[in-house]
Amino acid sequence: MDRIRALLRPAGDRNLNRLHRRQALVSVFMRHIQLIKITLFCLGYLWMLALPSPRLGRGTYIDENALGPGQVNTRWNWGDVANADRYLEQLEGLRDSNATSEQHAKAIMTEFTKLGIPASTQNYVFTSSTGKLEGTNAYAVLSSPRTSGTEAMVISASRISRVGEGDGTPNLRGVATVLALANFLKRYSLWAKDIVFVVSDNYVDGMQAWLNAYHGEAQSNLQAEELELASGVIWTALNIDYPGHSFSHLGIFHEGINGRLPNQDLLNSFHHISRWTGGVPVLVYDHLESHQSHIPSWIPRSLHQEIRQYNYRSKNVFRHIGYQARGRGSGVHGLFHQFRIDAFTMFGVPANGPHGFHSIGRVVESTLRTTNNLLERLHASFFFYILTTPERFLKIGSFLPSAVLISVAMMFGGLKLWSDSAWIPAATVQLEKEGDGEGSKWIQRSRPVIPVLGMMLSTHILGGILYSVLTTSWFSNNQTVASALLFLPVATLPLCALLVPSQDTRIVAPVSQLLKALNLCFASTVISITTVANFSLAMSLAILLGIPLSISSPSQSLPLRVIKYAAYIGLGLGWIFAGEELRKALWDWEILRVWFAPFVCAVYTPLVLQAGLVCLLPV
């Protein structure tokens, strides 16, 4: 007992003891820093790999009391289905006669007006580096019969389906559903919110114009007519995408632009309603779970189920990260999130059956009854999550640490380098005067930060210039040639670093070491901050930057330096040759204000260029 007490409270000065203890702890930490770093990296990457595991995550549930999903009898019947069919015939007629956007919008507006619902159209023009983008939206506002109409719900369908991310497949049945729903919903008197029907032109740009006009947002490259009809604050929006003849499942598409997600309560309510009221199975995206995937026979049979589940979930997680990291919405609903409107797209996965207008009408009716019950915006449940299946999800706590661990490992690496660069072992320095005691083993040297920061700043400026050239119409008109022309100067300019003279490392810390230290610290900070705003982007950065930035190092031989540099250029600037992807990212930025393209130009590429510079600089 006394021994334990002595261990816990050693004799002597308490403060001195505390300092000793702290010193001992720090020195243990510093001695094993390499091991700690590697452990953190391994943990982080393994965690990322484990995200799709069926053992992680938990079942979805509905948190908001007011929703009460699936508790109502639906009244959508075969008569309404017949109405939808009639609307569909008209829309097919318009399509076959190659009607213009305006004719389409006018026809849809007329149908709304025939139902006695105030309706209007809105023309808009986007000007971008790729040229002009014109269209006409049609919309109608069904006023709440018994309230003041300060709140609204939106039911929308874009004229072009999300099939192939808007490859031009018309969303005829989606639009017909909206029209038939308008006909049906106006017969109810229990709507506590206005219902706004929007048939937006094209795939996503129509809705962007409509939403901007609705909220009075100005966008410099958009000329949109003001809306003639107004309603209240929009709380929820359901976007209907029904491109095929029939559908087998309803898929949930929920990612918004810039990585925003709708409140999970909305998706869970929809899932519950679709499953139990509509009898339609629900998918995340359009991924069908296959039970027959091939698994090598040498794997024990008991693991097959888990591997299949892992396989299926990893597809969903990948797709999610693909949308979220690029900041690209997975459909028209994605535009609503920027105005704090919870929205998602229900996508009728094309199939030969068994579901059609009858199912989708009932599901939408019941979902509207649920959102109609809301007394305030959706706020319970989750805004940060990854849906691995329609019934299971990962909470922020179970995925966020993976990227943070890697960011921490990078930060440790950077700080270690920074503190190391201030000292040099005395043994390697021939000094005329011998020191005394242990203190003489290390000699302090200066760390010139300003030139290093200047170097970092210039890479970011270079990124900025790169970005401004990318958004010119010259680039978009001659993309393939321009890519090469742009690549060459950006890739060769940093080679100037080869001309930096080497300094006496006994007095001044080498620039390459300082640059690497600051580069790692900066990259780590960027990743940590991004994790909360857009986890998928942070995770992608952690994968792309984590190890590459940590292993950059200068070398003696010139060819080796150039080869290393070339590898970094490939990593940091290779995307310039991804023609279609680049074009989409730029279009997203110009039309929808998706921050991905500027972020890559001004943050990601410069960070990698800095690592390349580390390799070029003298030892």
């Binding site: 009391n65 508790q71 109502v72 018994r146 229990l190 019950n373």
Partner: protein, 385 residues
Amino acid sequence: MLVSLPHLLLFLFSWTWGTLAATPSHEEVVGNFFSKNGTPGSTSNHTNNWAVLVCSSRYWFNYRHMANALGMYRTVKRLGIPDSNIILMLADDAACNARNSFPGSVYANPGRGLDLYGDNIEVDYRGYEVTVENFIRVLTGRMEPSVPRSKRLLSDAHSNIFVYMTGHGGNEFLKFQDNEEISAFDIADAFEQMYQKKRYNEILFMIDTCQANTMYSKFYSPNILATGSAEIDQNSYSYENDPDLGVSVIDRFTHYVLEYMERINKTSHESMADLFAYYDPAKIHSNPGVRSDLFHRPLSEVRITDFLGGVAHAEVDTNTNARTEMDGAWAWERLGGARVKAPRVPAEDPDVAKDTPKARQWRDARAWGGVLLVGALVGWVGWRK
């Protein structure tokens, strides 16, 4: 001088009447008569009934709580408590809610057989008036002078009060409209104040909420019988959902209590013990509780109509002391609710007057005097003829 026969008879009659009247006073006879309430079998000696019905929730999805309170309202009204003796506190945003597919109606059954909102509803505290403060003011009677009588609990020492509460609650608290909570201590202290101010004879406290039984655990005033829907750490569940309304319409505990009450009428002799025996935890999905340690009558002798019925009895006030005490209480109230320690009343009924020997002698003397006077008068009249 002959005394005529009729006069003699009259004399004899008056004499016997006087002596008979002298032994048990006729006030006592009447008092005994009323203390038995006129209805044989009941042991209560209250003279008026009050009900305080509180629905502490608001919002559409809490429809069932409003239906709970309205169901109780209908029952106590049917059993004879008039609107003037019912304080109904209700958020009242269900019947005229824009989401109600049957506007102006509140139903407690999925079949929508009975419209609880009807055409004769008197909500005393509505919407944002349903607060903890107002509830406690109603119980304790500490009101602004401007508050109308219809919003006051004008009970006295002979009142049996039925207090029903429903809403969302937890361990020792009940939420009022997502805004504030009342704790079990608050209600216990309010009841104690009522007791000290002689605002009740007996209280039946009934509550339907999650962990309801914790709400009466802090009571310490006598003559309170309490019952709740669920034990600590238990939820109280809704009974059924109406698919046309899209919400649950009533809670289980209240549903089964009301179901039982439908068998009761004003003349029913069913006791509280019968009601408590009717509780079925398997049906209610939680364990209802009863607290009777503060209550001094055996539950099998306590009629349900003692609390939920409006049995009107006359009060026989024989004791001048009682009157002054009551006047004192009234004056105290008019002082504006200053905290004066009211004199504690003995637990037994204060109204049965205790005769002192001196008073009895005086009464006897008076009776004999009366007989003599009447006899003399009659004799004198007969003599003059």
